[in-house]
């Protein structure tokens, strides 16, 4: 009985994603079972529509910059948080992770008002900074996980052999913790690429990332072009997840 329950929950988890992918390759306007034949026309429609292509480009661009900035601010911070011995470290740790705990709709609303008063609303910068706020904690989490396992004696050895602290960090430590950092960067990319809630408050008609474009499309039409867009996004994330799994293992990544 336990087995049946477990299997049905797995099916429940997978079913909506499976039908999206199936509908994307299905020839009919409505997805039925059995499918009505294989077709790539919904993908052709996706790639032919200018608004989807612009949105895809913006999302990719935005996710790449978000990932770079998250690592630039997140990696040094996680070094200080793992190795530093200073007062208020635990409080700081909680503070830098807090964007993960707060519902994104609240972060989004607050940023919308803030950027409007600054006169930056609906700009690329607003979107980028908003994304970095919610992705940097993920980089800290993955980088910290690998830093904890790093043997500090290696860095000391490099220094006693004459390397400067900075050189020892870049040549020894970074080499060892690289998988965690790269996994964090990939994850930041994926989170930004898929982000909807925060983007909703920071976009304009000229500046729509792919999930927002998809949402706008779904409000008025139900045709499987949306499925092709979704299947494409699922494919992108799948490749990224396989990358993370190879780099650090999913168990550690999931935090247990």
């Amino acid at each position: 009985m336990l087995r049946a329950a477990v299997v049905s929950v797995y099916v429940f988890l997978l079913l909506p994603l499976a039908v999206v992918v199936a509908a994307a390759f299905n020839a009919g306007n409505y997805f039925t079972f059995p499918p009505q034949g294989f077709s790539l026309k919904w993908f052709a429609n996706f790639f032919a529509r200018r608004e989807f292509m612009q949105a895809l480009w913006l999302s990719t661009h935005l996710a790449a910059w978000t990932s770079v900035l998250s690592v630039l601010v997140g990696l040094p911070a996680s070094v200080a948080l793992v190795r530093g011995r200073f007062r208020g470290r635990d409080a700081l740790n909680a503070f830098v992770m807090s964007p993960l705990l707060l519902p994104q709709i609240l972060t989004g609303v607050a940023l919308l008002q803030f950027f409007t008063l600054l006169g930056w609303a609906q700009s690329y910068w607003a979107l980028l900074l908003g994304h970095v706020v919610v992705t940097a904690p993920y980089v800290i989490r993955t980088a910290s996980a690998t830093l904890y396992h790093f043997d500090g004696a290696l860095e000391e050895a490099a220094q006693s052999l004459g390397a400067s602290p900075l050189r020892a960090f870049f040549e020894i430590t970074l080499g060892v913790i690289k998988p965690g950092v790269v996994a964090g960067a990939i994850f930041a990319f994926a989170i930004s690429f898929d982000n909807f809630t925060l983007s909703l408050f920071l976009t304009s008609a000229r500046l729509t990332p792919l999930p927002i474009e998809l949402f706008a499309y779904l409000k008025y039409s139900f045709d499987p072009t949306a499925a092709a867009v979704s299947a494409f996004a699922i494919g992108v994330v799948l490749v990224l997840v396989l990358g993370i799994a190879r780099l650090m293992g999913l168990e550690e990544f999931a935090g247990f």
Binding site: L13, V73, P76, F215
Partner: protein
């Protein structure tokens, strides 16, 4: 090692300016007055009074909490067997199963909702299949109501529940359960008196997490509720982006924020206790 200030500086400045400051600004705004699209900075409790005296908003708040509670209980009932399996299995498929559990988290929320729309719509997969076989004549109302919203919420938040539970169940000593059964307890009694109490911290942590996520969800109620299911986050969105009544929108946001902060505080205490219980 470079001083911690230099290493932490950029991130802390970024978060103070683009996370803390906006939230403080929103808090101040919620105590301001609004008239004809102009915000007057004059401290008042008017917005909160309006929220807590209007039966419409109180009703929406109630509906939001009920929806959150239903999603939480359902996630617990579905998540527990799964977490148990994941914590105990020695299967070679385990990495694959973990990806399966995490998959809803890794796929964008609009896509997950769209998947449920394909399944639950009037001409969707489930209704079409049932009608084709002649089992029903009219499509079942699966979407644009509370049922559809609950199903999709459950799908989105189940992974959080499973991960919270797996963490606790994995550290639970299987010998305890064996000992109880050796001493004559039935499997059901051993579960109820040994496993369940020991996994209580995980249950609490997972439930608080799912509840706080469910009451602040916004995309799911719009796409699967079709504006027929009203929740607090939708009111916030409307006030901020359609009505442009920022003080009232901010006050709504702070009601939600207060609820979430309270739940998160309980969550942190529950997880700490869960970790202590294991040691």
């Amino acid at each position: 090692m470079a001083p911690a200030v230099l290493l932490l500086g950029p991130l802390v400045v970024l978060l103070v300016v683009f996370f803390s400051a906006p939230l403080v600004l929103m808090l101040i705004t919620s105590f301001a007055r609004e008239s004809f699209g102009q915000v007057t900075w004059q401290p008042t409790l008017q917005q909160y009074a309006r929220f807590f005296s209007d039966t419409f908003y109180l009703g929406v708040l109630g509906d939001t909490l009920v929806l959150g509670a239903i999603a939480t209980v359902a996630a617990l009932l579905m998540g527990y067997p799964l977490a148990w399996h994941l914590a105990r299995t020695r299967s070679r498929l385990k990495p694959f199963l973990l990806v399966l559990v995490l998959s809803p988290l890794l796929v964008g929320i609009v896509i997950r909702c769209y998947g449920w729309m394909i399944l639950l719509a009037d001409r969707g997969l489930i209704n079409a299949t049932l009608i084709e076989h002649g089992w029903i004549r009219k499509p079942l109302p699966l979407m644009y109501n509370r049922f559809g919203v609950t199903v999709a919420l459950l799908h989105v938040f189940l992974p959080f529940m499973v991960l919270s539970l797996t963490g606790v169940l994995k550290r639970l000593d299987p010998h305890l359960l064996e000992a109880a059964m050796t001493l004559g307890a039935s499997p059901a009694r051993a579960f109820l008196e040994v496993t369940l109490p020991l996994s209580l911290p995980g249950i609490l942590a997972g439930s608080l997490l799912v509840f706080s996520l469910a009451i602040s969800s916004f995309v799911v109620p719009i796409l699967l509720g079709g504006f027929k299911v009203q929740v607090l986050p939708m009111i916030i969105y409307e006030q901020m982006l359609s009505v442009f009544d920022w003080p009232f929108g901010a006050a709504n946001a702070f009601v939600l924020l207060a609820l979430c902060v309270l739940l998160i505080a309980f969550y942190i205490r529950a997880t700490e206790r869960a970790l202590q219980g294991i040691r």
